[in-house]
Amino acid sequence: MVDFTLWDILRNLLLAARWTVVLSLIAFAGGGIVGLVLLSLRLWRERSFARLFNGYVGLFQGTPLLMQLFLSYFGLRLFGIEVSVWVSAGLALTLYTSAFLAEIWRGCVAAIPKGQWEASTSLALSFYEQMRYVILPQALRIAIPPTVGFAVQVIKGTALASVIGFVELTRAGNMIANVTYAPFTVFALVGMCYFILCYPISLYARFLERKMNAVRR
């Protein structure tokens, strides 16, 4: 049996943590784009898209991310699309992220006083102009803290991609624990890696929120 030093374990975990970061970035960027499209549709044609929007958000918020990953993984295969686990994991996490971000942002847009819509409407601005120059700049400011905060949920969510065989931090931890017979150390280190990734983001989100509340007063 090969002896593994603490450094060996950590080095391998850190290498795998790269894929956690990359997958998180994909999910966050993709989810942001899809979420923005969903929100735009809903704001553009409130009546036709409100139900669809609520259904979409309810579906992804009301089912386990693990099931979403399984469905993406087996679903794509069922339809004869032989894809890498990158696509399955990326797709599921993107859709999951989009639902949460769209809902967070919808709340931010809803928080903009009705008078802002009415004033810009009565100035003959088109829907696009209202959004671009009046509503979104204001909504964006209040959206930043919760959006940053949700990044932590995305990073933690990528851990579930390990279950469908995506080799990221958690999966690497499993594999290393199996060969080193040191699960206590390995999973403690895995946890630490996530903590180092997530905690600064949590702190930053909290800082932004405090700053925003201070400005408002």
């Binding site: 008078g115 009415e118 004033a119 409407t121 100035l123 003959a124 088109s126 102009e129 009046v134």
Partner: protein, 253 residues
């Protein structure tokens, strides 16, 4: 001195048989009203009488179910975005709660719609904004943010912002109701200046003394109808209906 309007002046706002309901509740029960160019029309009445709703129908903020409405000859068509955009360029509106865009400077608030909607060049729009801010007595506030201004100053910026679109008619929806009493005068003076320059104004107001002073006509609304209409002297001096008499006497107590 009430504005005097010649009978031959063109009609700017023409409302005919306008009905509006929220669900089962009918708030406007057939309104007919013609406003000529240069007129100052004040709408008075109890809260819930439908006066704000009527005002908001004129630029399409409220959708009405039945009747017709034209502004400067343009019919109001709710489902036609281009027609609505065209119509709203002719109608300025000032709100009770100012509704300045808090993320933009005072100057940018005034310039936004002309540059976007009228495609004015930025230097032209800026020059116009300076001129209008000067007119409302805020020439030095061009680069200020709205939250640095008093309520009265914000409302004057809102007036300048509406004027920047060079509207044919201005709608004023209880524009002094959210102001501290000492700030009401500065806003009303600006409005009076507009009236004297011949701007067509339709105002919902609780400032009866002001209404009496500047109006060419006063409309008393009651339960979703135009209950009484006439010159300020007729309505305030010799109210005909018991409802108006009661309304006016309730104000004195």
């Amino acid at each position: 001195m009430p504005s005097v309007v010649e009978a031959s002046a063109p009609v700017i706002v023409d409302i005919a048989g306008l009905h509006k309901s929220y669900g089962d509740v009918e708030v406007l029960k057939g309104i007919d009203l013609r406003v000529q160019k240069g007129e100052v029309v004040c709408i008075i009445g109890k809260s819930g009488s439908g006066k704000s709703t009527l005002l908001r129908c004129i630029n399409g903020l409220e959708v009405f179910q039945d009747g017709g409405l034209t502004v400067d000859g343009r019919p109001l068509l709710h489902d036609n975005a281009a027609a609505m955009r065209d119509l709203r360029q002719r109608v300025g509106m000032i709100f009770q709660s100012f509704n300045l865009f808090p993320h933009l400077t005072v100057g940018a608030n005034v310039m936004l719609a002309p540059t976007l909607v009228k495609k004015s060049a930025r230097p032209d729009a800026a020059a116009q904004a300076h001129r209008l801010l000067d007119r409302v007595g805020l020439a030095d506030k061009f680069d200020a943010m709205p939250d640095q201004l008093s309520g009265g100053q914000q409302q004057r910026v809102a007036i300048a912002r509406a004027l920047a679109m060079e509207p044919a008619v201005m709608l004023c929806d209880e524009i002094t109701s959210a102001l501290d009493p000492e700030l009401v005068g500065e806003v009303l003076r600006v409005v009076e200046g507009l009236a004297n320059e011949g701007m067509t104004l339709i105002m919902v107001t609780h400032e009866m003394a002001f209404a009496r002073k500047v109006s060419s006509r006063v409309v008393f609304m009651h339960q979703g109808r135009v209950h009484e209409i006439g010159t300020p002297d007729e309505l305030f001096g010799a109210p005909k209906t018991p409802e108006l008499q009661q309304f006016l006497s309730s104000l004195h107590n």
